[in-house]
């Protein structure tokens, strides 16, 4: 870390090995942190604010970074907590009205409680997971995630991408477990349908 001795000589309170140039944090990690926040909170301004809050908190608590993990991992951990704080605040401020709008969303796929056979789930080819090596596939999944309503996508990402337990997701977002399960079900249904339409049911040259 010797290159920072010169940059931060005006800060006698911070020992040289702890000093990291905040400008460099922004240059090296801000885009990564921004994307991390954006996929979770889905609003550009909120994501920008969270990145700023994260770096401010990091600056105040530089001793917390003992070099045990990578600098990026450490910042990411702080951001993760900031994202959860944001959801906690949001949970108290908004009511669960997203769900009502979703109730009948897929009703056109069913008749009398059963799948309409002609439009029901098709066999996905290929069966192997080679798609996971295709960048276009991840772009499709990301776009499909973007089509979900905000709250549904937020709890889905917390649960499935971050692997937070159901109980904790309920606590963070202030929703009941039964509401969470309905939301996760809607998310899975929406994503499955979207992936089928935009990827698996398309000729490989036409996938997007």
């Amino acid at each position: 870390m010797s290159e920072h001795h010169f940059a931060k000589q005006t800060e006698p309170l911070i020992s040289p090995e702890l000093s990291s140039d905040p400008d460099r944090w922004v240059d090296e990690h801000a885009d990564f942190l921004y994307r991390y926040a954006l996929i979770r909170v889905r609003h550009r301004e909120v994501a920008q604010d969270l990145v700023q809050e994260t770096l401010l908190a990091a600056l105040k608590n530089r001793e917390g970074f003992g070099g045990r993990s990578s600098e990026r991992g450490w910042l990411c951990g702080i951001l993760k907590n900031k994202v959860c704080d944001y959801f906690r605040k949001l949970g108290r401020e908004t009511s669960m009205t997203d769900l009502d709008g979703l109730a009948g969303e897929f009703s056109e796929k069913f008749v009398g409680g059963g799948w309409i056979h002609l439009t029901g789930p098709k066999e996905w080819k290929p069966e192997s997971d080679e798609v996971m090596h295709r960048a276009e596939f991840w772009a499709t999944l990301r776009r499909c995630l973007g089509k979900l309503p905000d709250r549904v996508a937020q709890v889905f990402v917390l649960r499935e991408v971050d692997g937070v337990s159901s109980k904790e997701v309920c606590e963070i977002t202030s929703i009941s477990e039964s509401n969470l399960w309905v939301m996760l079900h809607r998310a899975r249904m929406g994503l499955r349908e979207c992936l089928e339409v935009n990827w698996f049911d398309r000729p490989s040259g036409d996938r997007k």
């Binding site: 400008d23 994307r35 600056l59 789930p121 996905w124 991840w138 899975r188």
Partner: protein
């Protein structure tokens, strides 16, 4: 001429039991009567990812799959979806073009400098 079937099975329907003759038709009907509806089964499939269902629920789901290849496919695909989403963070940087505006970066830098003074 008979009216068209209200919910015809396409050729790709590979449900194990289909009402092609009198016997299988009765069997299909019976399974349909004793297992939950498809709308219920897809919900059970999702809930099973949150908490493992009891054996009775598992049994009725399995029986339902005998007559409904759509719910069977749905279950398989939702499990695949879970595997996909777990791996999403590894790939997100490749497919997410979003960057912070330079102006925002400058704002954050000056904010960080201010806080140090």
């Amino acid at each position: 001429m008979a009216a068209p079937h209200p919910n015809p099975r396409p050729a790709s329907d590979d449900s194990l039991i289909q009402g092609r003759n009198w016997f299988t038709a009765r069997f299909e009907q019976w399974i349909g009567a004793v297992t939950p509806s498809c709308t219920r089964v897809v919900r059970l499939i999702s809930d099973a990812l949150e908490r493992p269902p009891d054996w009775r629920t598992r049994l009725t789901m399995r029986m339902h799959y005998l007559v409904c290849c759509y719910c069977r496919r749905y279950e398989k695909q939702v499990h695949r979806l879970r595997r996909f989403t777990i791996s999403l963070p590894e790939h997100i940087d490749e497919v997410m073009p979003d960057r912070l505006d330079e102006a925002v970066k400058e704002r954050i830098k000056s904010c960080l400098r201010d806080s140090q003074e």
